[in-house]
């Protein structure tokens, strides 16, 4: 029974606790499963622990003096809790970090080259690039300009494209919609959906923009104050009154009350 579940989930994170600087407890027992080939959303407000959760999975915690102090993470059935970030990328986990951190002084084309795994042949790399330019034609048009001068949307596309060069099996995105116009968010999410369908790529999507995220994922987790407080199908979450009220901008609450709510909730738990 247990084995069967493992086989279906490409990623399984069990009761993971993360400490920064050995004292700051950023997430307190988070469990998240990503079924193979599905798109899953991780929702929550500022400081909830979404990015920390992704960094725990990608191994980037170490770079910020963080560590997993409890719990375990398995990827395709293999325990990766202690693996290096680089090893995790080689296994097929790629993390598009918050804030579209493209290599600014490189061209988009060089950004893609930089992410090529060791030993990838030139022809495979070119084929990967062509595929990525196919998904993001805007990038193809600007592939020789300096990446730092691309628009926000183009940089986000480049960050995603760069991650795809590593040939991931699980793609994790940290707030890709941040600061982008709604039409761009729609465009990028549409492309993610297409890649997910075409290639069976599993996706773990962190978003504050729950409305947009719940349109493309099958399930979602809601994180508050370092804990998963809700988990359900996208449909169930969309119709949940709390979610509607506080994350989908529905209900009668105004902005101040939303703030108040999340702050209160944080202090109480």
């Amino acid at each position: 029974m247990q084995e069967k579940v493992e086989a279906q989930n490409i990623l399984s994170m069990n009761s993971v606790e993360v400490l920064y600087d050995n004292v700051i407890l950023a997430i307190k027992g988070v469990s998240v499963q990503v079924p193979k080939g599905e798109m899953i959303a991780l929702l929550g407000s500022n400081g909830a622990g979404k990015s920390t959760t992704l960094k725990a999975i990608s191994g980037l915690l170490k770079a910020e003096r963080g560590r997993i102090s409890r719990g375990e993470i398995t990827f395709q059935g293999v325990d990766i809790t202690e693996a290096l970030a680089q090893e995790r990328v080689e296994m097929g986990i790629c993390h598009v970090i918050e804030g579209r951190r493209v290599f600014e002084h490189l061209t988009p084309d060089e950004n893609l080259t930089a992410a090529a795994p060791r030993g990838m042949s030139r022809s495979t790399l070119n084929a990967e690039k062509d595929k990525i330019y196919g998904y993001f034609p805007r990038l193809a048009e600007r592939k020789s300009s300096q990446a730092g001068y691309l628009s926000g949307g183009e940089q986000q596309m480049l960050a995603i494209g760069r991650a795809l060069v590593t040939q991931p099996k699980l793609l994790m995105l940290d707030e890709p919609s941040l600061g982008l116009a709604p039409f761009l968010v729609e465009e990028i999410f549409g492309i993610l959906q297409k890649i997910n369908k075409d290639e069976g790529l599993s996706v773990l999507l962190v978003e504050q923009n729950a409305l947009a995220a719940l349109e493309i994922v099958s399930q979602g987790y809601l994180i508050e104050n370092g804990r998963v407080v809700m988990h359900g199908t996208a449909e169930a979450l969309k119709s949940n009154s709390d979610i509607q009220e506080f994350y989908l901008g529905g209900g009668e609450t105004d902005f101040h009350n939303v703030k108040h709510y999340s702050r209160r909730k944080r202090w109480l738990s």
């Binding site: 990608s58 770079a63 970030a85 790629c94 493209v102 290599f103 490189l106 730092g148 001068y149």
Partner: protein, 295 residues
């Protein structure tokens, strides 16, 4: 005005300047990957020269073999420095890494003193001391050779930074976190940049060792090398080359005018003025990249 004399000053200044560039290229390589000016580059250059001498004099190898072997040894040393010392400092403030390089410089100087003593040894490359004459302008052969080496290294590195490994190094220079996120080994990249800078140090050590002898004073090249690197923009190899030529010419020509007035010693003042003015007026140097500001 004596134009022949002036062009002789300018040409020899430019050649000397390219020898500063030869040194500064090593600084730029490390700055690109670690965002710190490597204060131990002078020490590495000195050690590079000593290792060549040890292989040539003490072991008795011919120079054409001793120099590449020393490059291999120094390549390993560069990697070792990252492995043993730098890796522990990952994520610490840059000033700590800077202090580490200072400590390393002192360590290297002390080590060469302990092993080889402080007496100056000669390199004896076999380049003739007779100057070359072009019309009435005389040019030092070793400076010409050194300038050629500097330009060759410049071209080699320009090509290298277009290769996949070179592009990964530039990516590391841009953003450690993003590099890790796509599986680039930042540690290995930083190690490689130290290794390459150590190889450059061998080239600079051999040429400068031939010019001024091999002793601890070689490590003081850091002062001019750093001035050139800062004027060039710290992270630009092209900048290091052009800034070297500029500093060399200015130093040679201006000191020729100033020295009679102040009674000598104006070279140091000119170097100091270039360094201070660059930092004050143009902190990114001639070719340094600005951080791109976008919203």
């Amino acid at each position: 005005m004596d134009w022949v004399f002036l062009s002789e000053l300018a040409i020899n200044g430019a050649l000397t300047g390219l020898l500063y560039s030869l040194f500064a290229i090593g600084l730029v390589l490390i700055y690109k990957a670690s965002s710190v000016p490597n204060l131990a580059q002078g020490g590495l250059t000195m050690v590079g020269a000593y290792v060549v001498l040890a292989l040539a004099r003490d072991v008795g190898l011919p120079l054409w073999l001793a120099i590449p072997l020393a490059a291999v040894v120094m390549f390993g040393l560069g990697f070792g420095i990252e492995r043993v010392a730098l890796r522990r400092l990952a994520g610490r403030p840059v000033v700590m890494i800077l202090m580490l390089t200072l400590g390393l410089d002192i360590f290297l100087r002390g080590t060469t003193l302990a092993i080889w003593g402080g007496t100056s040894r000669s390199m004896e490359l076999g380049v003739s001391y007779d100057p070359l004459f072009f019309d009435d302008i005389f040019i030092s052969r070793i400076h010409l050779v050194g300038a050629g080496v500097a330009l060759a290294l410049f071209v080699a590195f320009m090509l290298f930074f277009r290769t996949r490994t070179g592009i990964k190094l530039r990516a590391i220079a841009d953003d450690y976190m993003a590099s890790w996120s796509v599986g680039i080994s930042v540690e290995r990249g930083v190690g490689l940049s130290w290794a390459l800078a150590s190889v450059v140090a061998v080239a600079a050590g051999v040429i400068w060792g031939e010019i001024q002898g091999v002793d601890q004073a070689l490590s003081l090249l850091l002062l001019k090398g750093l001035t050139v690197a800062v004027l060039g923009g710290l992270d630009s190899i092209l900048g290091a080359v052009i800034a070297g030529i500029i500093l060399g010419v200015v130093e040679n020509v201006v000191s020729d005018f100033l020295d009679p007035l102040v009674g000598g010693g104006s070279r140091e003042l000119i170097v100091a003025a270039v360094l201070i003015l660059t930092v004050m007026i143009r902190p990114h140097g001639l070719f340094g990249r600005h951080d791109i500001e976008r919203v």
